[in-house]
Symmetry: C2
Subunit: 331 residues, 2 copies
């Protein structure tokens, strides 16, 4: 997308995670005028430490700032973590963009440009370990923007390396649960004995993949507490005993792990589902498809998947922080 020269920009928004930095030039309505993506995530900076953050930011945005020097800048994601540019400590639930804005941290980049960093959110239940999100709170703010019916009450599911299941009530994040599904799949696939029976170069045909995935979900649905450590081994034993073809084992493992995530998360969030709160899926389209298939095995139908809502969420964060005024002609 090339800049729309007819529109005056009002905001620079940075979605700055572990492995990439995405920069957005936005107008007063929150529409994207221009955008860039760089590989300079916080674990891949052009040089170590603070100078690395400064340089990555300059590489992405210095021409925008040269042209519009007074633009406000906001950032969300791991850039505000303890390993980030500056730590914006977690705020506790319930949290919305106003809470995030009231507890934001700020850094000053070269040339005196101030960047407002969004905090992450801590959910601290009395009877279990605390849980944290950082970055997802911004995506959720973006998803809810302009959707008061979702803001009223919804479940927001962000599948991925660390899937997040987030309950929203009256526009605020009230509780959430992290599932290490994607990472567990990746490390078991690559580093455990389970990968050994999986052919590297022979992708499954669609029917085989679907059958493997469905079998994994069915195994998860039969699980009792503690069973996953045992059921993981079935990925191997089903192959050894020729009950599943080798090409189906990868999808079996995927179905088994996503199935366990769903068994647990749907039980934890049953009250919300029973009240017919919509289930919103945010994320990569292919992964969302996989979750839609898995959810259907549990009789749950999500709303249409939503794409990248981080820019819109950063806009809402900037509005809540008073950095820009919302254009009344929008949302």
């Amino acid at each position: 997308m090339s800049p729309d020269q007819s529109t005056t920009p009002s905001l620079i928004a940075l979605d700055w995670g572990t492995s990439s930095l995405r920069a957005f030039l936005m107008d007063a309505r929150g529409d994207i005028i221009d955008q860039r993506s760089s590989p300079h995530g916080i674990q891949n900076l052009p040089e170590p430490g603070i100078p690395g953050f400064e340089r990555a930011f300059a590489l992405a945005c210095s021409d925008w700032l040269a042209r519009w020097p007074s633009l406000p800048v906001v950032a969300g994601g791991m850039v505000g973590s303890a390993q980030g540019w500056r730590e914006a400590p977690y705020v506790t639930c319930p949290a919305d963009t106003h809470v995030l804005a009231s507890r934001a941290a700020a850094v000053e980049a070269q040339g005196g440009v101030r960047i407002l960093l969004a905090p992450g959110v801590l959910y601290d239940p009395p009877d279990a370990a605390p849980d944290v999100i950082r970055g997802e709170e911004i995506q959720i703010a973006g998803a809810l923007s302009g959707h008061p019916e979702w803001a009223k009450r919804s479940l927001v599911v962000l599948p991925g390396t660390h899937s997040k299941w987030v309950e929203v009530v009256d526009g605020r994040i009230t509780r959430f649960f992290t599932y290490m599904t994607g990472e567990l799949f990746a490390v078991m696939r690559k580093h455990s004995i389970l990968g050994r029976l999986m052919p590297d170069a022979k992708p499954a045909d669609k029917a085989t993949a679907q059958a493997g995935f469905a079998a994994g979900i069915a195994t998860a649905q039969k699980s009792l507490p503690g069973d996953l450590v045992h059921q993981l081994f079935s990925t191997r034993s089903l192959g050894l005993a020729h009950r599943l073809p080798a090409e189906a084992l990868e999808d079996y493992l995927s179905g088994l792990l996503i199935g366990h995530e769903l068994v647990s998360a749907l039980a934890r969030l049953k009250a919300a589902l029973d009240s017919e709160a919509p289930l919103l899926l945010i994320g990569d389209a292919k992964l969302c498809e996989r979750y839609i298939a898995a959810l259907s095995a549990f009789g749950v139908k999500p709303a249409e998947p939503i794409g990248n809502t981080a820019p819109r969420g950063l806009y809402e964060f900037a509005v809540a922080a008073g950095l820009i005024k919302k254009d009344p002609s929008h949302g």
Copy 2:
């Protein structure tokens, strides 16, 4: 141990696994006269394929065979797997040494020496994925040897990379469950984000380690179906929120995974435990200590841990195969 020259050997027994080959020279009573250990497990042979097996065997045993050329030779473990010297296909439960002997495979090494390979065991329940053991059936035969009270009914637990929970009734393996506890711990520690907060060079003091381990078990005891994928993340969030010191996180993860294993396995084998069948622990002494501590949190007290019972089990396998006569003065 140097050979006891006063005793006539009756058997060569090979405990031949993935990463090592252990050779035992035994007398007619099953006592060990001499033993060797080599790193030539089936995934670390001195050369690829059959010649590698032949050479590893010759390196370990050729002097014994030069001196006592007619000694029978038996082997158990991964050497009889599909990746082994020759496959000895799984026998199905219920299985004892007689069943193993009746379905053994044989190879002929250089010089015409015949080696009898023990099969593994398949447990094939009607309502779940099949499960397999290979090598543990020999260790179990060794543990039961000379213990008719254990052979009558017991639970044999072999903790490790892949923990095995095996029910024995009337001297036969009737069913069993594999838990990938050790491997899951190792890959998550080494390859997932969970290892990042764990200090590499700062081992926990005993009290910190025990507190972390106990906290992990307590988390597992509170788990509902599917919860592990979520609870794994608490290893990180407890560190991020400073609820557990970094040095305790490794033991927390260990307690969480062993706790999940116990929650599941003790429920599956509840009938045997309720009938007061003894729980036998076989394996590495330090790991057994960890399981004893974990079991005590569930109110279960195992019998004294048992060391390496593979040589005795191979002896029983050789007796069942008719290769040697049991000396009536023993067991």
